[in-house]
C-alpha cells in the first residue's frame, strides 16, 4: 500500500519543495504548507477508514510499506512502515493536528518560509516515528521531529525567556533520548549476533519466545522507562513541559504537546513493556506512583499557576498521568484506555495551545490576571476555551472521558493499585475541575478588563475551522468511541498476555 508511504513522505517532500519557494513570495509558503498538510490529513483519514478492511500482513500490521533504498540491510536496518491498532489512531490524530497547527500559525510573519519548512519536517518526523516498523528509523524520525522543535521555540517563541526554555527543553529531551538510545542499544546487544535485526515485529516475536534474562531486564527496563518517561514529562522529570509550551509558538506547542510527546508513551507501549514484561512487572508500583505524581502534583501546581500557557502545560503533564496509569495496569482495558487518552489528549492539547496562541497574539501576555470577561469580548474563543477546559477535566461527551474512565476501570483490575485508583479518581474529578474551572472563571467569566477590551475574537471560517474541527472530533469520538476503540483493542489484546484480557471479579474472603 502506498497510502502509508504517502502519509509519511508527503510532509517531507513538502519540506523539500518549500526550499524552492522564493523568499519574497510571502504567502506561498503558508499555502504550500497548508495544502501539503491538508493532503497528508486526507491520507491519514483514508488510512484510518480503510484500516479494518486492509489485509493483515506481518505480525498483525497492515498496509506494510517498504521504502526501497533506505536503510542498511547488512545491519538489519530497513525502512518499513505499517499500522496496527496502536498507531492508526495516533497517525490520524498527528496528521489532523499538524494541519490545524499550520492553520493556526497565521501570526508568523518573519521568516515564514523557514518556519513552515521546519513545521513540515517536524510533521514528517512525527508521522515517520509512529509508522516505522524499524527500531532505527523509529528513533531517527523522532530525532528528526525533535530538532525543529528546539529551533522553532528559540527563533519564533514568545516571551523574554524563550531561549532559556528552549535550552532547558533541549537538555531534558536530549537526556531522555540518550537514555532511550542506551537502552535500545543494550536490548539490541542482548540478541545473539546472527539474529540481530532492527525490525520491531521480529524483535517482539523473538523476545516473546526467548524472554530476556531477568538481570538484563532489571537494568534495561528502567533505562527505557525513564528515557521514554522524560520525553512524556513523567513526574518528576516534567519541568521542561510547562516552560517549553508557554514559550513555544502556538503551532509548535500544538504539535509537540499534542503529538510528538506521545512518542515516549508509544515507545513504552510498543517496545519497553512487551519486550521486558518482568521489568515492567517489577517497576509497576513505581510507575503507578509516579503517574499519580503527574496527576495530583501536576494538578496542584496548575491550581497555583498564573500564566495560562504554563497552566495548560501543567494540565498536560497531569493528563499524561492517565496514560502512565494505563500502562502500569498493563491489562487490556487499561492499555486500550491509555491509547484512547493519547489520541484524545492530542486533539485537546492542540486546541488548548491554539487558544493560548490566539490570546497571546492579542496583547502579548498570558498572565491570567490581565484577562477577564473574554466570554463577552471574544465569545467564540470563550466558548471553545470553556469546552476545552471541560474536556480537560474529563467531562463525559468528550472522548477524554472515555479514555480516562477506561483507564480507571483497567487500573481497578489490579488489586495492588486500588489505592492508586482512588487517588487518580480524586485527581481526575476534583483537582482537574478545580484548576480548569479556575482558569475559566478568571479568563472567560467576570467583567471585561482593560486588556480584554482590546481583544479581537476569532473571525470568519478561515480562523475558526481548526478549532471547530478539533472540538468536533473530541465530541464525535466522545459519543462514538467504538470507532476508535474497535481499532485499538485487538492490537492491545495481541500485545499483552492472554490472562490479562479478561475481566477479573474481586474475590471476597
Amino acid at each position: 500500500m502506498t497510502m502509508l508511504g504517502g502519509l509519511v513522505g508527503l510532509p517531507l517532500l513538502g519540506a523539500v519543495a518549500m526550499l524552492l519557494v522564493p523568499r519574497d513570495a510571502a504567502r506561498a509558503s503558508r499555502r504550500l504548507a497548508l495544502a501539503v498538510l491538508g493532503l497528508t490529513a486526507l491520507f491519514a483519514g483514508m488510512v484510518f477508514v480503510h484500516y479494518p478492511q486492509a489485509a493483515i500482513e506481518d505480525h498483525g500490521y497492515r498496509m506494510v510499506t517498504r521504502v526501497p533504498g533506505l536503510g542498511a540491510p547488512a545491519l538489519g536496518i530497513e525502512c518499513r512502515f505499517g499500522v496496527d491498532g496502536l498507531n492508526v489512531g495516533l497517525l490520524l490524530m498527528g496528521a489532523l493536528v499538524a494541519w490545524a497547527a499550520a492553520a493556526c500559525a497565521r501570526d508568523v510573519h518573519e521568516r515564514s518560509k523557514e518556519f513552515y519548512f521546519l513545521l513540515l519536517l517536524m510533521t514528517g518526523g512525527i508521522l515517520g516515528a509512529f509508522a516505522s516498523l524499524d527500531l532505527f528509523f523509529f528513533y531517527f524520525f523522532h530525532e528528526l521531529a525533535l530538532v525543529p522543535t528546539f529551533i522553532m521555540i528559540g527563533v519564533w517563541g514568545r516571551g523574554e525567556d524563550r531561549s532559556t526554555a528552549a535550552y532547558q527543553m533541549t537538555l531534558y529531551l536530549s537526556a531522555g533520548a540518550l537514555l532511550v538510545l542506551i537502552g535500545l542499544v543494550g536490548v539490541y546487544l542482548q540478541v545473539p549476533a546472527q539474529l540481530r535485526t532492527f525490525d520491531i515485529p521480529t524483535l517482539t516475536q523473538y523476545f516473546r519466545e526467548n524472554p530476556l534474562p531477568a538481570d538484563a531486564q532489571a537494568w534495561l527496563y528502567p533505562l527505557l522507562l525513564f528515557g521514554f518517561g522524560i520525553l512524556v514529562s513523567l513526574w518528576p522529570f516534567h519541568a521542561w513541559a510547562p516552560t517549553g509550551y508557554a514559550s513555544a509558538p502556538a503551532a509548535t506547542a500544538m504539535l509537540h504537546a499534542g503529538v510528538l510527546k506521545k512518542f515516549g508513551l508509544y515507545g513504552l507501549m510498543r517496545v519497553a513493556q512487551p519486550w521486558m514484561p518482568q521489568g515492567a512487572q517489577d517497576w509497576m508500583p513505581m510507575l503507578a506512583g509516579l503517574a499519580l505524581g503527574n496527576l495530583l502534583y501536576g494538578g496542584w501546581v496548575a491550581m497555583r499557576e498564573q500564566n495560562l500557557g504554563r497552566l495548560l502545560g501543567y494540565a498536560s503533564v497531569a493528563h499524561m498521568g492517565f496514560v502512565f496509569l494505563g500502562l502500569a495496569a498493563w491489562n487490556a482495558i487499561g492499555v486500550t484506555g491509555a491509547v484512547v487518552v493519547m489520541v484524545a489528549h492530542g486533539f485537546l492539547a492542540a486546541v488548548s495551545f491554539a487558544l493560548v496562541g490566539h490570546l497571546y497574539g492579542q496583547a502579548g501576555t498570558l498572565s491570567m490576571d490581565r484577562w477577564s470577561g473574554l466570554g463577552r469580548v471574544m465569545p467564540f474563543w470563550g466558548a471553545i476555551f470553556t469546552m476545552a477546559a471541560l474536556a480537560g477535566c474529563g467531562l463525559p461527551g468528550f472522548v477524554n472521558f472515555v479514555g480516562e474512565v477506561t483507564v480507571l476501570f483497567g487500573l481497578w483490575q489490579v488489586p495492588e493499585l486500588r489505592w492508586v485508583t482512588v487517588g487518580a479518581l480524586f485527581g481526575a474529578l476534583v483537582v482537574g475541575a478545580v484548576y480548569m474551572l479556575r482558569a475559566v472563571r478568571q479568563v472567560v467569566h467576570g467583567a471585561p478588563s482593560q486588556t480584554a477590551t482590546r481583544g479581537v475574537d476569532l473571525l470568519g471560517w478561515q480562523q475558526r475551522w481548526p478549532y471547530a474541527l478539533l472540538v468536533a472530533i473530541l465530541l464525535f469520538l466522545g459519543w462514538f468511541p467504538q470507532v476508535l476503540v474497535s481499532r485499538v483493542e485487538p492490537a492491545v489484546a495481541g500485545l499483552i498476555p492472554r490472562e490479562l484480557t479478561a475481566v477479573v471479579t474481586l474475590r471476597v474472603e
Binding site: A74, L75, L171, Y172, A175, A193, P236, F237, H238, A239, L296, Y297, W300, V301, M303, R304, E305, A332, I333, T336, G337, G373, G375, R376, L390, C393, L395, P396, G397, F401, V402, T406, F409, W412, L425, F426, L429, V430, A433, V434, L437, R438, V440, R441, V444, H445, G446, A447, P481, Q482, V485, S486, E489, V492, A493, T501, V503, T505, L506, V508
Partner: protein
C-alpha cells in the same frame, strides 16, 4: 414495548435543539426559543403517547457503546413505571418552564445561549431518567452537572454568578468522586453495572459481602449527597440561585436535584440496612438544618432554596426508612409545587425589576393577584395543607417514619411545622400588608406566557395527590404498603383511616407553623427574630457557618497541598534538577572539549579508529 423508537426521539429531540441553536440560530432569539420549547414539548407529547400506548410497562432498548474484550459498555434506554413517571414529570414540568422562560428571559443578550443550555439540560436529565446502567447514569449525571454549571453562570459577568457556578460544579464533583468509586467497587465485586443484572445478583450476595456491600451503597449515596445537595455537600444549592429563576425552578428544585432521590429509588436494592440508616439520618438532619436556616433568609429565592434542601431531605429520609415509594411520591408533588413557587418568585422578581429582598416587597397580593393566589396554593401544598398534593406525599413519609423510627418521626413533624412557619413568613412579608418600597407599589403582573405556567402548575399542585400516582408507585416500589387503594372521594380522607396519628400530627404541625408565622410576621415591619434573638438570627443568616468551616478546613487543606506542590516545583524541581542537569552538561562539555582539541592529527586518528571499530562490528567475527 410498542414504538420503542419513540424513546430515542424523546431523548434526542432536546439534544438536536441544543446543537441547532448553538450552530445556527445564536443571533435569532425567536427561532432559538421556538426550537428549544418545541423540543421540550415534543418530548413531553411523545412521552405521553408512549405511555398511552404501553401503559406502565417495563422493558429496555440497548445498543453497544464501547467494548474492550469482555468489558462492554452499553447505552440503554430502560423503561419501567419508575422511569416513565419521572419521564412525564421531567418533560411536563420542563415544558411549562420552557414556556415561562420566553417571558422571563426576554431581551437578555444571552437569550439563545440560555435556551441552548436549557435544551442540553433536558437531554442530560432524560438521559439520567432512561439510563439502564451505572456508567451511563454517571455520564448523564455529569452532563446535568455541566448544564447546571452553564446555567448558574448564565450571567457570567457577575462575579457572584461565576463563583456560584464553579462552586456548584466542584461540590458535585466531590460527591461524584464517591459515586465513581462506588461504581468501580460494585463492578469489581460483580463484574456488571447493569441495573437489572445487579438487581438479580446483588441481594443474594449482600450477606457474604458484609461491610463491603454497605460501603458500596454509601459510596453511591455520596453521588446523591452531591447532586441532591444533602448535608454535608449542601452548600452549593443556595448559591446556585444566582442563575435565572426559571433555571432555579427547573434544575435546582424540580428535576436535577431530585435526580439523587431518583437514583436512590432506582438502585434501592443496593442498600444494606446499615447503609439505609445513614441515608435516613442524613436526610433527616438535612431537612431540619435547612428548615432552620430558611426561617432567617431574606432573599425570596434563598428561602425557597433552603426549602428545597429541606424537602429533598424529606425524600432521602423516606428512602432511608425503606420506603422509596414515599420518597418518589414526594418528589413528584414537590416538583409541581416547588416549580410553581419558584416561577411565582420569578414573576415577582421581574415585576420588581430584579429586587429579591422580601423586606422591600409587601402588598403584592393586591397588585399581582394571579401570582399571589398561585403562590399561596404552592405554599399551602408545600406546608402540607389538606387536601393539596403536599399533604398526601408528606403524610406518606410521616406514616412510614411513625411506623419505623420514632425519633425521625418527631424530627419530621418538627420540620413540617418549620416549613409552614418559614413559608407563611415569606407570604406575609412579601405579599401581605402594604408596599414597603416604591417598586412594590408599582408592580404589575407579567405577560400571559408567564401566568399560564403558574396556573397549570397550581392545578397540578392541588390535584397531584389524588390522581393515582400513589397507587401506581405502590405497585412499583416498596414503602406504601399501609395505604389502601381506594377510589374517588375516599382517597381524600384515606390517610386519616390507615394512619390517623401521623396525618393529624402533620396537620397540627402545619397549623402551628401557620399561626406562629401570622403572630410574628402578620404586621411586622422588621424581623422580630433578629430583634429578640440577635445571635440566633446571625447564626442562621450566616447559614450556620458551614461555608466558612469548609473554606477553613477542606478548602484550606487543598490550597495548602497546592502551595506545597508549587513550592516544591519552584525550589526543588526547577532549581535542583536544572542545576544538576546543567552542571552535568557542563562537566560533559569540558570532557568533550578535551577531545575537540582542534588538532587535525588527533581527529584523523579518532576517525580511523572509529572506522575500524565500525568495520569490525559490521563484518565482524
Amino acid at each position: 414495548m410498542k414504538w420503542e423508537a419513540l424513546l430515542w426521539w424523546i431523548l434526542l429531540l432536546p439534544l438536536g435543539a441544543a446543537a441547532w441553536i448553538t450552530l445556527g440560530t445564536l443571533r435569532q432569539p425567536r427561532r432559538s426559543a421556538a426550537l428549544s420549547v418545541g423540543a421540550a414539548l415534543g418530548s413531553f407529547v411523545l412521552s405521553v403517547i408512549f405511555w398511552k400506548l404501553n401503559g406502565w410497562t417495563s422493558g429496555s432498548v440497548s445498543v453497544s457503546w464501547w467494548q474492550v474484550g469482555p468489558w462492554a459498555v452499553t447505552f440503554d434506554l430502560q423503561v419501567d413505571p419508575l422511569s416513565l413517571l419521572m419521564l412525564l414529570v421531567v418533560t411536563g414540568v420542563g415544558s411549562v418552564i420552557h414556556v415561562y422562560s420566553i417571558g422571563y428571559m426576554r431581551g437578555d443578550p444571552g437569550f439563545s445561549r440560555y435556551f441552548a443550555c436549557l435544551s442540553l439540560f433536558m437531554f442530560s436529565m432524560l438521559g439520567i431518567v432512561l439510563a439502564g446502567n451505572f456508567l451511563q447514569m454517571f455520564v448523564f449525571w455529569e452532563l446535568v452537572g455541566v448544564s447546571s454549571y452553564l446555567l448558574i453562570g448564565h450571567w457570567f459577568e457577575r462575579p457572584s454568578a461565576a463563583e456560584a457556578a464553579r462552586k456548584a460544579f466542584i461540590t458535585n464533583r466531590i460527591g461524584d468522586l464517591g459515586f465513581l468509586s462506588g461504581l468501580l467497587l460494585i463492578w469489581g465485586l460483580t463484574g456488571t453495572l447493569d441495573f437489572n443484572r445487579l438487581e438479580e445478583q446483588w441481594p443474594a450476595r449482600m450477606a457474604d459481602l458484609g461491610a463491603l456491600a454497605t460501603l458500596a451503597g454509601l459510596l453511591v449515596f455520596c453521588g446523591v449527597v452531591g447532586k441532591s445537595a444533602q448535608f454535608p455537600l449542601h452548600v452549593w444549592l443556595p448559591d446556585a440561585m444566582e442563575g435565572p429563576t426559571p433555571v432555579s425552578a427547573l434544575i435546582h428544585a424540580a428535576t436535577m436535584v431530585a435526580a439523587g432521590v431518583y437514583l436512590l429509588c432506582r438502585v434501592f436494592f443496593l442498600f444494606t440496612p446499615e447503609a439505609l440508616t445513614v441515608v435516613a439520618w442524613t436526610g433527616g438532619w438535612t431537612a431540619l438544618m435547612a428548615a432552620l436556616i430558611a426561617i432567617q433568609q431574606d432573599d425570596i429565592k434563598r428561602v425557597l432554596a433552603y426549602s428545597t434542601l429541606s424537602q429533598l431531605g424529606y425524600m432521602v429520609l423516606g428512602v432511608g426508612l425503606g420506603a422509596p415509594a414515599a420518597g418518589m411520591f414526594h418528589l413528584v408533588t414537590h416538583a409541581f409545587f416547588k416549580a410553581l413557587l419558584f416561577l411565582g418568585a420569578g414573576s415577582v422578581i421581574v415585576a420588581l425589576h430584579h429586587e429579591q429582598h422580601i423586606w422591600r416587597m409587601g402588598g403584592l397580593w393586591r397588585r399581582m393577584p394571579v401570582t399571589f393566589w398561585t403562590f399561596l396554593v404552592g405554599t399551602l401544598a408545600l406546608s402540607g395543607a389538606w387536601p393539596l398534593s403536599g399533604f398526601f406525599s408528606k403524610d406518606a413519609l410521616l406514616a412510614v417514619a411513625w411506623e419505623r423510627n420514632l425519633p425521625l418521626f418527631l424530627l419530621a413533624v418538627g420540620v413540617a411545622a418549620l416549613t409552614s412557619f418559614y413559608m407563611f413568613r415569606l407570604v406575609w412579608v412579601a405579599f401581605g400588608g402594604s408596599a414597603r418600597q416604591d417598586g412594590a407599589g408599582h408592580a404589575a403582573e407579567p405577560g400571559q406566557e408567564m401566568l399560564w405556567p403558574l396556573r397549570i402548575l397550581a392545578a397540578l399542585s392541588i390535584g397531584a395527590g389524588v390522581i393515582g400516582i400513589q397507587a401506581m408507585l405502590q405497585a412499583t416500589l416498596p414503602g406504601l404498603e399501609g395505604a389502601q387503594a381506594s377510589a374517588g372521594w375516599a382517597r381524600l380522607v384515606e390517610p386519616f383511616h390507615h394512619a390517623p396519628v401521623p396525618a393529624a400530627a402533620g396537620l397540627i404541625a402545619m397549623l402551628a407553623g401557620l399561626v406562629l408565622a401570622w403572630r410574628m410576621y402578620g404586621q411586622a415591619g422588621e424581623d422580630p427574630v433578629a430583634q429578640h434573638w440577635p445571635r440566633l438570627a446571625r447564626w442562621l443568616r450566616q447559614r450556620m457557618y458551614w461555608d466558612e468551616l469548609y473554606n477553613g478546613t477542606v478548602g484550606a487543606f487543598h490550597e495548602a497541598c497546592a502551595a506545597l506542590a508549587a513550592g516544591v516545583e519552584r525550589w526543588i524541581i526547577q532549581g535542583f534538577c536544572h542545576g544538576l542537569l546543567k552542571g552535568g552538561t557542563a562537566v560533559l562539555g569540558e570532557t568533550v572539549r578535551l577531545v575537540q582539541s582542534g588538532s587535525l592529527q588527533t581527529y584523523g586518528w579518532v576517525f580511523v579508529a572509529g572506522l575500524g571499530v565500525l568495520l569490525w562490528w559490521v563484518l565482524g567475527p
